[in-house]
């Protein structure tokens, strides 16, 4: 399982979030996702060095730090908005996995440099998409834009192709 997701975004529900009575931010929910590489060992091969087949990326919802206000536990629109934030992380994580898996460099140091760059790019990509998603949808207040973005993100996820 070189690329894993836990849980699948469509299975994300508020019952796995931490429940709160209130939040200083006055926000209603917070979703934290982790994109975690493991098994990052070098493999010498014709043409240079790559990461070994043990390389794995796991995208997971951080259940302990993701939270929802109790008053909004049954807010399906809010849930879908947050679920799509996690789905963006899944799409970015898969792109990151594919890019790193394809890297071949003549020297170990050059491969390490590329790994560091790929990680920074994945982080920047997530933030750029998330910013645009929130800006266009008015953070889930413009229903037509929210629906358009749901179609777009689910399209990336289903096709395993992120085009942004």
């Amino acid at each position: 399982m070189p690329f894993q997701i836990s849980p699948a975004p469509e299975l994300v529900a508020f019952d796995i979030y931490t429940k709160r009575d209130s939040a200083p931010s006055k926000d209603w929910a917070y979703t934290k996702s982790n994109i975690t590489p493991s098994g990052v060992a070098p493999l010498t091969r014709p043409g240079g060095v790559s990461v070994a087949s043990t390389f794995t990326v796991t995208v997971s919802l951080n259940r302990a730090q993701s939270w929802v206000l109790k008053a909004h536990l049954n807010d399906t629109k809010l849930l879908d908005h947050e679920r799509l934030h996690h789905m963006i992380a899944c799409c970015v994580g898969l792109k990151f996995y594919n890019e790193v898996s394809a890297l071949v460099k003549p020297k170990l140091a050059a491969l390490q440099t590329e790994l560091t760059r790929a990680k920074a790019e994945a982080d920047n990509l997530f933030k750029a998409i998330t910013r645009k998603y929130d800006a266009d949808t008015g953070s889930n207040t413009i229903a037509s834009q929210q629906a358009a973005w749901a179609t777009r993100i689910r399209g990336w996820y289903a096709s395993k192709t992120l085009t942004f």
């Binding site: 939040a23 200083p24 931010s25 006055k26 926000d27 209603w28 929910a29 917070y30 979703t31 934290k32 996702s33 982790n34 994109i35 975690t36 590489p37 990052v40 060992a41 070098p42 990461v51 951080n62 947050e82 934030h85 992380a89 970015v92 990151f96 790193v100 170990l108 491969l111 390490q112 790994l115 560091t116 990680k119 920074a120 994945a122 982080d123 997530f126 933030k127 998330t130 910013r131 645009k132 929130d134 800006a135 266009d136 008015g138 953070s139 889930n140 207040t141 413009i142 229903a143 037509s144 834009q145 358009a148 973005w149 777009r152």
Partner: protein, 373 residues
Amino acid sequence: MGHSDPRLVREQDADILTTLTEMVAFSHRCLLLTCLACGGSGSAREAESPIKAPVVTKPAAGRRCVGARSTAPPPTARTTGCAPLSEALRSELTPLFARETKGDDGQLRVTVAFPCSGVTPAPAEITGAQVFGHGGLASVVGLERAADGDFRFRMIRVEQRLLGERVDETHPPFEFVRGSVPAGRVARAFERMRTGLAARITAQHDPPPGQLELGPIAVSSASIMIELRLRDAGGAVVERGYMGYVGSADAAERVPVEHAWQAFTEAWPEEDSKVSHDAEPEDRLLLESVWSLGGERDFYAEDGLLALAIAAGSPPLVGPISRDLYSDVSSTRTLAVAALATITGWDARLDASGKPRPLQDVVADYKRECSTP
């Protein structure tokens, strides 16, 4: 993507415009705001204030929206001084900052240094702004030493999401909190803040020889903006802020600022502080002062300040707010229009029959009338 279906956006904009139009009407009633920029006389409350009324620039013939020069004290140049910091606080904060920066990444090597501070431990003023994206809370806060030695506290806050709700005049979304804080309490907070803001954190991975290293990436749905300005009794100033989506990559920049904000809150008065729904001239000066903090802001940060400007804007903000009319984000343009309507008293959002006009037409009017050529 984005505004691929402009008709749908305009429908939404019209709805928001209607609500914000009601909000402005409410603000006019409650805040006794008159059209200073149009040459109208100030309210009684403003006339009684020791704060001078903003100096209105001479309007071009026929213009309904002009700014004014600021009456806020000019920001002091950032200091190049190097005041020592408490060893005890540095020792306390070093492991805390290292742990928070490291997060879930056990292999990250974090170094925390506190070279020195640009301000001394004697506080004169603390000014800050905090905005939570996603429709959360936006607030600006000021603490300033008064003649009696204590500090006067002011906070303007709005739960941004409520701006999209129908106006409930018994529970308006804007709150003005005022109080007084003993000097000792402010001094303790100031010391933690100046120490925290002096922190310089570096974080890196050092893979073992012959190995590769690739740490985890933590990302989130939360965007925040924090801007802080400390001024000491000698007039020296330190400013530092953070703006972004909370994640692991920029924790080294975010952690000290978050800590300083938390320390700031410990200097705030207790819950029995006076809460009002009316802006005083000093509130408007506070918002004006905060606007000059930081540099260019992302949309969620700017939206938070624009929301506050609906209730506490002033003619000197007409220029900066007019630039938001050119934003590519719909909510920013909508809020900019609402703020300009409140500040100038000229509301172009409804047509003669009282129906909302298309946002693009309204924005065009304000661009023409408010923007500096």
